[in-house]
Symmetry: C2
Subunit: 104 residues, 2 copies
DNA sequence: ACACCGTTTGGCGGTTTGACCAAATAGGCA
DNA sequence: TGCCTATTTGGTCAAACCGCCAAACGGTGT
């Protein structure tokens, strides 16, 4: 793997790492339905608000979501709806694993 | 997030974690072209063979690739070509980030 | 200015990851 | 059998990750 190729795959990995967490996938799913502020997401998820804030920062830095301050709150929404196709990718893998299992 | 939903997103995360590494993405890319044994992949990648073996185990456990022992070697190939659509997802995000950058 | 609300930041502790090395394992072949 | 090659496994170490708490910010409204 030469230097250029290596950089390319590290860039791809940077995005895919941002997706590699149950809470962050859940956040993406919720933000697909509507925008939410940090506090609202925190109530939906049920972990410390600082943890949620950090997850949101990770997603924002990878360009998947975008924030917008309005009044007292910071609202987040999907920047890149294309990530939703990720869910079908992942679901596909899971389903085909199950099929494989059943076939045995 | 109730217990059932939580489990669902953890399952999705399990798969997406398997993809969240530059080397593993590269392996998937190469295995899309043809099957390879561990030694061949090691030469392509340029890290210790035990490291490559562990990456392959991770991919295998998540159901993305499959192994087949023939003669002296263990050959790996894609089990789930659907993961390739992941690459276009990731590339999409990267491209739309770049567009955003240029627009400024 | 002060208090209040929502959010982010910094830091700490426990867990996980990923790299290497060395050793164990599994087959093929002389 | 014993040797050789390919692969996996176990251990160690440093770095990264993720949760919480506490403290710092930034606006709003009194």
């Amino acid at each position: 793997m030469d230097v250029l190729e290596k950089r390319k795959y590290e860039e791809l990995a940077r995005i895919s790492k941002a997706l590699a967490h149950a809470t962050r996938l859940y956040i993406i799913h919720k933000l697909d339905e509507q925008e939410y502020c940090v506090k609202e997401l925190t109530e939906l998820i049920g972990v410390d608000i600082s943890t949620v804030s950090k997850h949101l920062t990770i997603l924002k830095n990878s360009g998947i979501i975008i924030d917008e301050k309005r009044g007292n709150c910071v609202y987040y929404k999907l920047q890149c709806r294309c990530v939703l196709s990720m869910f079908s990718c992942l679901t596909n893998v899971i389903d085909s694993n199950k099929d494989k299992m059943n076939a045995i």
